[in-house]
Symmetry: C2
Subunit: 298 residues, 2 copies
């Protein structure tokens, strides 16, 4: 590939820049970044990409354009890009939710231009180009969104790109993608934010210093609840129907569990606790987490 453009050079964008450069996946890497603070960081870090001030310089003649911005930026960017993009350039993005964003793409993107959505299952609670790493995508799943209209040649190109980046790829449609991630990712984040908020509410009422004792469980959730707020607002809004349904399933389980506790229903509680335990073994077997007690903290 001759030229790639990364739009939005934060945690994941900068990780792509590092990886693409190191593995020579593209001859030239262009970066379009609107945050001045990120641009200074990119320069200070000497990231191996050419920072462009105009989107046109980045987009024209690119083989691939990758949006690594929050989902709420897509519409504005599409309208700008439409002016100079050709059908030779493939666009993708790395957003964690697809239902609403796919509709925006369908509605606003210039006809004849191919945008195949991607979702690499990776990230961290920290943001910014200084935290990016070239191995961010290594051995991680990357979902490619495929429907009946997806051009198979372009899909093959994008698939090969993610493999070069180090990911394992899988294809599915928007609906399946957003249902799965409403449970495995969006609900856990929503819960983490709300658990931490509940602790804060409790602290205010009781005037107890809770954080000191967070090692009993709260600290795990606090990590996820520290994730980027713009990114997560956008994901919750984009996938709101599935996320709402997931919250409902979860609240139903919470109420049933509470009932079991209050009636001291040992049989039912033990059955639930044993059943959920099995998931951890599966996750470790599938190498979806490090196999160290307590995340190897000590």
């Amino acid at each position: 590939m001759k030229k790639v453009l990364i739009i939005g050079c934060g945690l994941l964008g900068s990780s792509l820049v590092r990886r693409i450069s190191r593995y020579k996946i593209a001859k030239k890497i262009f970066i379009y970044e609107k945050s001045k603070s990120n641009i200074s960081k990119i320069r200070r870090l000497k990231l191996p990409g050419i920072v462009v001030n105009s989107l046109e310089d980045g987009v024209v003649n690119s083989d691939l354009v990758i949006l690594c911005t929050p989902i709420s930026e897509y519409k504005k960017l599409i309208i700008k890009i439409n002016k100079f993009i050709s059908s030779k350039t493939i666009i993708t993005d790395i957003g964690s939710s697809k239902i609403e964003s796919s509709k925006i793409i369908k509605k606003f993107l210039k006809k004849g231009v191919q945008w195949i959505q991607s979702h690499p299952i990776t990230g961290s609670e920290v943001s910014g180009p200084e935290h990016g790493k070239e191995n961010m995508f290594k051995d991680k799943w990357c979902v490619l969104i495929k429907d009946k209209k997806t051009n198979s040649k372009n899909l093959k190109f994008l698939n090969s790109f993610w493999k070069k980046v180090g990911s394992k790829t899988i294809m599915m449609n928007v609906e399946k993608h957003d249902k799965i991630f409403s449970i495995t990712s969006h609900l856990p984040h929503l819960i983490a934010y709300n658990l931490v908020k509940s602790a804060q509410d409790f602290e205010k009422i009781q005037k107890y210093d809770l954080i000191k004792y967070s090692a009993g469980g709260l600290r795990d959730f606090s990590r996820i609840a520290a994730s980027n707020e713009i990114m997560w607002r956008d994901i919750f809004f984009d996938n709101k129907v599935n996320v709402s349904k997931a919250v409902d399933i979860f609240i139903k389980n919470l109420n049933s569990f509470k009932k079991d506790i209050n009636s001291k229903n040992s049989k039912s509680i033990i059955k639930k606790l044993i059943q959920t335990k099995k998931v951890r073994s599966k996750i470790l077997k599938l190498k979806q987490d490090i196999n160290k007690p307590d995340f190897g903290r000590n």
Copy 2:
């Protein structure tokens, strides 16, 4: 101290044995363990304690007896211990909830015998003596339960014991303890179990393979949801009033968050997401977690 007895030599019991021996905190360490499988492990691991078959051999002349069993074992053990314990022996336990267990102790323990409850804030999702470590308690908080009747000499002795074990100590009464930990520990565990259960419910209905994509958040919760089921049943039952209240606060927050998502109330969501983010910084500042993105997984 001349003699200490550890009752229940699992993850925490065996960690105490290792630490007490290494730092010569007691001249003789006795272990009483009812699980045959754990006894073989203790022998195979050559843990530096004397395994006794009778509680009497362990208890008589001990300076300190530490119960490291699930809370539901306390009553049975108290009734047995009563037969040969003297007022010279101090008893403690390491249970994570105190309300119900303190009542059982008050009701059944022989008059004149001192039991001061402890709660070291440490542990892991794995169980058994093979996972114990001498540094399990190092730099961790240990709560000592103190009320008007607590003998100050005995409290001082116990306080000094936990400090030798490596912990930072703090004193509070049962009510405050159980309120705090209902939020920082019991609620997070309850949530983790129920999130994983919700994922399992969803998997059954949708026939999707979710676990493969657990790296988006679910895997963090699966670790906590893999904790010992007997121990956690007992904690939930022991602290059911506070835990139920905590679940109610949490469900209220979930519903309000869901409403914000469905009405796309950006201002309210962003405010919540920014507010909860601060807790992580506090936790890191207080050294209650390792300061590495993604728990240093990569």
